[in-house]
Each structure stands twice: as structure tokens, then as C-alpha cells.
């Protein structure tokens, strides 16, 4: 019997081509677009024709063009609970969250995968740039970087479990983005020239502080800017407006440029300092997930390369376990702006060893 796959189609070029490639490989395909929020949820009027509705239409038109059925699944309750609420709570706690990771974890590879199983599908397919391979010696599924290193998305996928990896296909893992666009253009897909998504999908225009204030119904309370010694430097506009390493928009004049070095949600203070103060060698991470090795069998301390932001470089480090769900990462060289709430992902060459959330 033909294997069945659900393709997560966002209405973008990548998932369009992923759907096409999966169909070409002989799978029986179902296209699915997840409805993740209502306009009202993100502070847009109901009547406003949002871009996401256009994206639904784009996804549908691609699905029909390649000859597969297409459904819209309404997962907005779950998205609100697992992604939006967590996003807001992280900012209120002085962290800088990565909601795309939560969306992958709770929506694409959990909820959608469950829906796939309900509908007798063997796989969930997405347009991520990453590769999944089975290690025949250990029997484990490996998550590896994409062939196109400039587009590699393995960082946002580190939370995938063995069960999820065994039921997931990333058809674009071996392609370059330019090839994907070429395929889309050759097939006349309306999505061929669409821009890559940059912003957080549910925060219109990237104005996340406004979004959080609307969501909580409270304007964030102003507080003090301090220097490293606790001296008052000025007033800040609410901690949610700042992230570690930020220099712009502080409204403080100083001889040398000042950067955000620390956010203290309890005291409602933001500490500023010179750039060299952003560098640190050690930090801890929790909410750990291991992929290439079973968490129980992992051999610590472990030499890995750690990546602490999506667009950042990997740096050699030593990983030590402190507790079941707590690890310490010690870089060989100090790194700039280790930011609470972001993910740290451990690599061994092209292979994702695992990852966690920076504490």
C-alpha cells in the first residue's frame, strides 16, 4: 500500500515545493494548513483581511494544482496556549523567547502529527531545511543540518523526539533554496516569488512590545536603567522592550556605547554596560532534549559545538550534566550575549546532538 503523508503547507514557497516533491516520490498526500490564530487574538479587527487568509488560499491553490486534497485545521486554541501565552510569559520574565521552536514542538510535530495518525497517515512533511537519517548502528534517528548551510533550520528543530523524527520527512533537506525557487517557478507556483518569512507570524510588523501590552491588557511598567555597580543611569520603558546585547533605542547618552547586559524582572531593572561585559563563557540550560544519543546513555562531559542563536555561529564548548534536566555549557572562548530564553543547540559536525533552553 502507498504510504500516506500530511504536508504542512503554510502557503510559502518551501512547503509548496515540499508537497510537490512528496507527491512525486509516490506518497499519497494530503495538504494541511494550520489556522493558528484569529485576527482578534492578535489585535487586528475581525473584518481585516489578514495575510494569513491569503496564505490559506495560496496553499490551497498549490495543493489543487499538484492534485492533492487540502484542509485547513483550526489549532488556534492550542497555539494560543502553547505558543502565544509562553511567548508573553517569557518576555515578562526578562527572557527572549523563540516561539517558532515552540510551534514546531507543540503544533507541527505533536498536534499535526497526531492528526496525521488519526487520518491514517504515516508521515508529517514540512518544508524545513534539515535532514533526517537513521543511524543503522545505534538504531536512532538523526537530525542533521541541511545541504544548504545558509538555510539550515536544524536549530529550530532540536526538540524533536525519536518518535517524531521517525514520522517526519524533510524533502528539502538536500536542496538549495535557489533550486527550490527554480522548481516553484518551473511549475508556475504562485508562491515562487514570495519572500521568506522574517517576523514572528502572530506579531504584526514585529512590534512585539505593543503586542504583549495588548495581550496582557497592561502597559509595561517603567523602571530604572542601572550600571554594573547599581548606579542609576536613567529610566527604561518596561523590561519587555529589551533584549540582551541591545544597543539601539535605549535613550541613554554615554561616552562609549552602552548595551543591555542584564534584565531583572523581579526588580524591574535593566542593567547596561560596555560591549566587553556582554561576553561570557559559562551558562546553564534546561528543558533538554537529546537526539543522536539517548539522554540516559550520554557520555558527559561531552565536547560539542554550541549554537546560541538562530543566525549565530557554532562555537566549541564542553557540555556537562548537572542534573536530569540541567546542563552546563562552557565555551572555549567567551561568547557575546548569551540570552535567556533562546535555544542552545549542540552539534557534532552536521549532526544535532541535542539542545535546550538557556536559563
Amino acid at each position: 500500500m502507498r504510504k500516506k503523508a500530511i504536508i504542512a503547507m503554510s502557503g510559502g514557497v518551501d512547503s509548496s515545493v515540499a508537497a510537490y516533491l512528496t507527491k512525486e516520490r509516490g506518497f499519497e498526500c494530503i495538504g494541511a494548513t494550520m489556522k493558528l490564530y484569529d485576527n482578534e487574538d492578535i489585535g487586528l479587527p475581525r473584518g481585516h483581511t489578514c495575510c494569513s487568509l491569503d496564505d490559506f488560499e495560496d496553499a490551497k491553490s498549490i495543493a489543487y494544482r499538484i492534485g492533492i486534497p487540502h484542509y485547513v485545521f483550526n489549532f488556534s486554541d492550542l497555539f494560543c496556549e502553547k505558543v502565544i501565552a509562553e511567548f508573553v510569559s517569557a518576555y515578562l520574565n526578562g527572557a527572549t523567547p523563540n516561539p517558532c521552536i515552540d510551534c514546531n514542538r507543540f503544533l507541527k510535530f505533536d498536534k499535526l502529527l497526531m492528526r496525521a495518525k488519526e487520518l491514517n497517515c504515516d508521515y508529517v512533511v514540512t518544508g524545513h531545511y534539515a535532514r533526517i537519517e537513521k543511524d543503522e548502528t545505534t538504531g536512532r534517528y538523526l537530525l542533521k543540518k541541511a545541504a544548504d548551510s545558509t538555510k539550515d533550520q536544524s536549530y529550530v528543530l532540536y526538540s524533536m523526539t525519536q518518535e517524531q523524527l521517525s514520522h517526519t520527512l524533510f524533502p528539502l533537506g538536500g536542496y538549495r533554496k535557489t533550486q527550490v525557487r527554480e522548481i516553484a517557478e518551473r511549475l508556475g507556483f504562485c508562491t515562487a516569488k514570495k519572500h521568506d518569512s522574517q517576523d514572528i507570524c502572530f506579531v504584526p510588523n514585529g512590534r512585539y512590545a505593543e503586542f504583549i501590552e495588548k495581550y496582557t491588557g497592561k502597559s509595561s511598567s517603567k523602571g530604572d536603567f542601572l550600571d554594573a555597580d547599581g548606579n542609576l543611569l536613567g529610566r527604561h520603558g518596561g523590561i519587555i522592550r529589551y533584549t540582551i546585547g541591545q544597543r539601539k533605542g535605549l535613550g541613554i547618552s554615554a561616552k562609549k556605547p552602552l548595551y543591555v547586559t542584564k534584565i531583572d524582572p523581579a526588580a524591574n531593572t535593566v542593567t547596561l554596560g560596555r560591549e566587553e561585559m556582554l561576553y561570557s563563557k559559562r551558562f546553564t540550560a534546561s528543558d533538554l532534549n537529546f537526539i543522536s544519543v539517548a539522554a540516559k546513555e550520554a557520555d558527559f562531559p561531552m565536547r560539542i559545538k554550541a549554537k546560541i542563536r538562530y543566525r549565530g555561529p557554532e562555537q566549541p564548548a564542553t557540555l556537562t550534566r548537572i542534573d536530569t534536566d540541567l546542563a552546563e555549557i562552557a565555551f572555549d572562548e567567551p561568547q557575546r550575549a548569551v540570552t535567556k530564553g533562546q535555544a542552545v543547540v549542540f552539534y557534532d559536525g552536521d549532526v544535532v546532538v541535542g539542545g535546550g533552553t538557556i536559563r
Binding site: L53, F56, K117, E118, L119
Partner: protein, 396 residues
């Protein structure tokens, strides 16, 4: 096996309607406003169709305006009543919380213009009490609009009683009868209805055509500017084949109304009895005061989307909630209005029958629903939590 149980969404066209329409696409295709003989023949057909529909509703031909369907008729009725009210400084409208969006969204637009809208509670059984209307009417009320029968849960409202109250109080009364027309007996004079909307494709007529009855003397507001068709109240060349199809289908439905109702009611009650055997399921809407063809259930621990797709795989075509333009399923405002919680409203199933369904189909459907509900509950974390006692069942 293909079992169509989505007749509230739309119906299959009847042979009678199709055959009635064909000559008006092929032979008598002229514009009814044209002076030549062919045009006059088309105009004559239009006249007879209008007379026929008026006769079936118990009104005069001059009181019927053809529209593009139920939504347009609802829009025009409500906007017209609002414009009439406005002139007398009456800017209050009474409706219910579970109307079709064609009504609710029109009311929302009027609210933005400064009208005040009271939405009556539809109670747990989905039926309002005429007393609620009487109590809500104020000196500045210009319109009461209450649907004849609900499109999701099929409950039938006490239209004649509401009509009488409105007549006594001198308030215009409109009813959205899109689900009722052709299925329940309607007499607009006897039931004191001032305005009524209907749509052809809900009773085996064609899509894209409907009618608005407005009692003589009620000045309709035109929603579209253009020619003087429909006495200047609805511009645009008349959809002659559609109107002929509407009239033919409506006549056929009304002639057979008792027999059809008897048959579908029998099948409906059989389907309700069968599905009720599923533990932790509940029928939505009053069991008796409902349309002959409507079955609507909620199931604990199930999502409507999965249920529908699994049923579709087995050849049973039902629906759930109300499909928005994107085709996604939002928790139904109707189910929320009768007090179902958000979680439960997600797990609803609407099966709507026609007289063409058979006992065999209903038996097959009952077995399929039972099997799929059990299968999907096997995946459901909510169901697992309920069974293990971690969470209370919402549906006992």
C-alpha cells in the same frame, strides 16, 4: 458507498427543477426587459414564477423580490427595516444569539452606525420563548428578526406567536426561513410575518437564487444600484433560469411537504437513537421542536475536523460547526449560544437528511460514527484524562 448527509449546507437539485430550467437557458433565453416576443416570453415566465411562490407562501406576487439567495434577502430585509426605523427615530433591533451570520454581521454593521441590538438568549434547548420577545420590545424597537429554524441544530422557533406579539406592538418582524422553507408549512399572513427570506438550493433548487417576501407597504432599500428590475429594488438582469428553478423546486417541495417530513423525521429519529448509544455524547437542540432532517451531536474528547474527514473516508458526508471562508472550523457560535463549552463545541457533528436518504444508509452511518468516535478517542489525551478520572467528563 456515498451517503450525503449535508442537506442543510445544500441539496441535490430535483429533476423537476432542472427540467423546468432548461428551456430558459436554451430556447427562451431573452432578457425579460426586452420588448420583443422572446423577451416577453421570459417576462411571462418570471411573472408566473413569482405568482407561484407568492401562492405557496400565502402572499401577493407584488410582495416577492428575487435575490441572489438567502444572505442577500436577509441583508436587504434588515437594512430596509433599519432605514424605516431610523426615519421614526427608532434604532433598536431585537434578534437572537444564534442567527446565521448573514443576519448577525448585518446587525453588527448597523451597530457601528449607531443602532442598538438586543440578542435574545436561545436557552439550552435552542428555542426562544415568545415572552422573551415581548419583554425585549421597547418604544424605539424597529425590527424583530428571529430565524424560523436554525441551520446548525435545526430547532424551530415559535414564529406565529412572535409574529402576533410584533403585530400587536407595531414592530416589523422578519424571519430568516432559509432552513424552513420547503420543509415546514409557512403562511406569512396567518403567521403575521412581515418579511421572510428563503433560498432555492436548500430545497432541491438551484444555487444563487433566493427570494425576499416583504409585506405590502414595507419600503425596501435597494442594496445595488442599476436598472429598474424588481420594481427598482434589486438591479441586475433577472436570473430567469434560477427563478424558474426556484419556483419549480418550491412547488414540488410544498406539494410533498407532509410525506417528506414524515419520512425524514423517521430517519432522523432512527439516527438520533443510534448515535445516542455512544457514551458521553449529547444531542444539540430540542429533540422534538426541530427540523425533520436535522441531527446534531457533540462528543466528548473528539475534534470535529478529524471526525468529518474519517467519515468522509467511509463515504459519509456530514459537516460540523460553521465553515468560514477559509474552510476552517471555528467553534460554532450556535453551540456556544446554547451553552456548550468551547471544548465540546469543537467536537460537533451535523448530519442533515433529505427524503432521498434510506434506512440502509442511516444504519451504515450509525455504525460508522460509532466506530470512528471510538477510534479517535483512542488518540485523544482529553478522553484519556476523562477515563482515568484526571478530568471530569463534561458530557455525562
Amino acid at each position: 458507498m456515498q451517503i450525503y448527509l449535508d442537506n442543510a449546507a445544500t441539496t441535490k437539485m430535483s429533476k423537476t427543477a432542472i427540467e423546468a430550467m432548461l428551456p430558459y437557458m436554451d430556447g427562451i433565453y431573452a432578457n425579460p426587459s426586452s420588448l420583443h416576443l422572446l423577451g416577453q416570453q421570459a417576462n411571462e415566465a418570471l411573472f408566473h414564477a413569482r405568482e407561484k411562490i407568492a401562492g405557496l407562501l400565502g402572499c401577493d406576487a407584488g410582495e416577492i423580490t428575487f435575490t441572489s439567495g438567502g444572505s442577500e434577502a436577509d441583508n436587504q430585509a434588515i437594512v430596509s427595516a433599519a432605514r424605516i426605523g431610523e426615519k421614526q427615530n427608532k434604532k433598536h433591533i431585537i434578534s437572537t444569539a444564534f442567527e446565521h451570520h448573514a443576519v448577525l454581521h448585518t446587525l453588527e454593521r448597523l451597530e457601528r452606525e449607531g443602532f442598538e441590538v438586543t440578542l435574545l438568549d436561545v436557552n439550552e434547548n435552542g428555542v426562544i420563548h415568545p415572552r422573551q420577545v415581548a419583554e425585549a420590545i421597547r418604544p424605539d424597537t424597529c425590527l424583530v428578526t428571529v430565524m424560523y429554524a436554525n441551520n446548525e441544530i435545526g430547532t424551530v422557533e415559535p414564529i406565529a406567536e412572535i409574529g402576533q406579539i410584533c403585530r400587536e406592538k407595531g414592530v416589523l418582524f422578519h424571519t430568516d426561513a432559509v432552513q424552513a422553507a420547503g420543509h415546514l408549512k409557512i403562511d406569512v399572513k396567518e403567521q403575521n410575518i412581515d418579511m421572510l427570506s428563503l433560498s432555492a438550493h436548500k430545497f432541491h433548487g438551484p444555487k444563487g437564487v433566493g427570494a425576499l417576501y416583504a409585506r405590502k407597504g414595507i419600503r425596501l432599500t435597494s442594496l445595488m444600484e442599476g436598472g429598474a428590475q424588481e420594481r427598482g429594488k434589486r438591479a441586475g438582469t433577472e436570473n430567469i433560469p434560477g427563478i424558474i428553478g426556484l419556483a419549480a423546486a418550491f412547488e414540488e417541495a410544498c406539494e410533498n411537504i407532509d410525506r417528506n417530513a414524515e419520512k425524514t423525521t423517521y430517519l432522523r429519529d432512527m439516527l438520533i437513537a443510534g448515535i445516542s448509544e455512544i457514551p458521553h455524547s449529547i444531542l444539540n437542540g430540542d429533540a422534538k421542536k426541530r427540523l425533520p432532517g436535522n441531527v446534531n451531536f457533540c462528543f466528548e474528547g473528539i475534534e470535529g475536523e478529524s471526525l468529518l474527514l474519517c467519515l468522509s473516508d467511509k463515504g459519509v458526508y456530514g459537516s460540523s460547526g460553521s465553515a468560514c471562508t477559509s474552510g476552517s472550523l471555528d467553534p460554532s457560535h450556535v453551540l456556544l449560544a446554547i451553552g456548550r463549552t468551547h471544548d465540546i463545541a469543537h467536537g460537533s457533528l451535523r448530519l442533515t437528511l433529505s427524503e432521498e436518504n434510506t434506512e440502509e444508509e442511516i444504519k451504515y452511518t450509525i455504525a460508522a460514527v460509532k466506530e470512528i468516535v471510538a477510534y479517535l478517542r483512542g488518540f485523544s489525551p482529553v478522553w484519556r484524562d476523562c477515563v482515568s478520572g484526571k478530568k471530569d467528563f463534561i458530557i455525562k
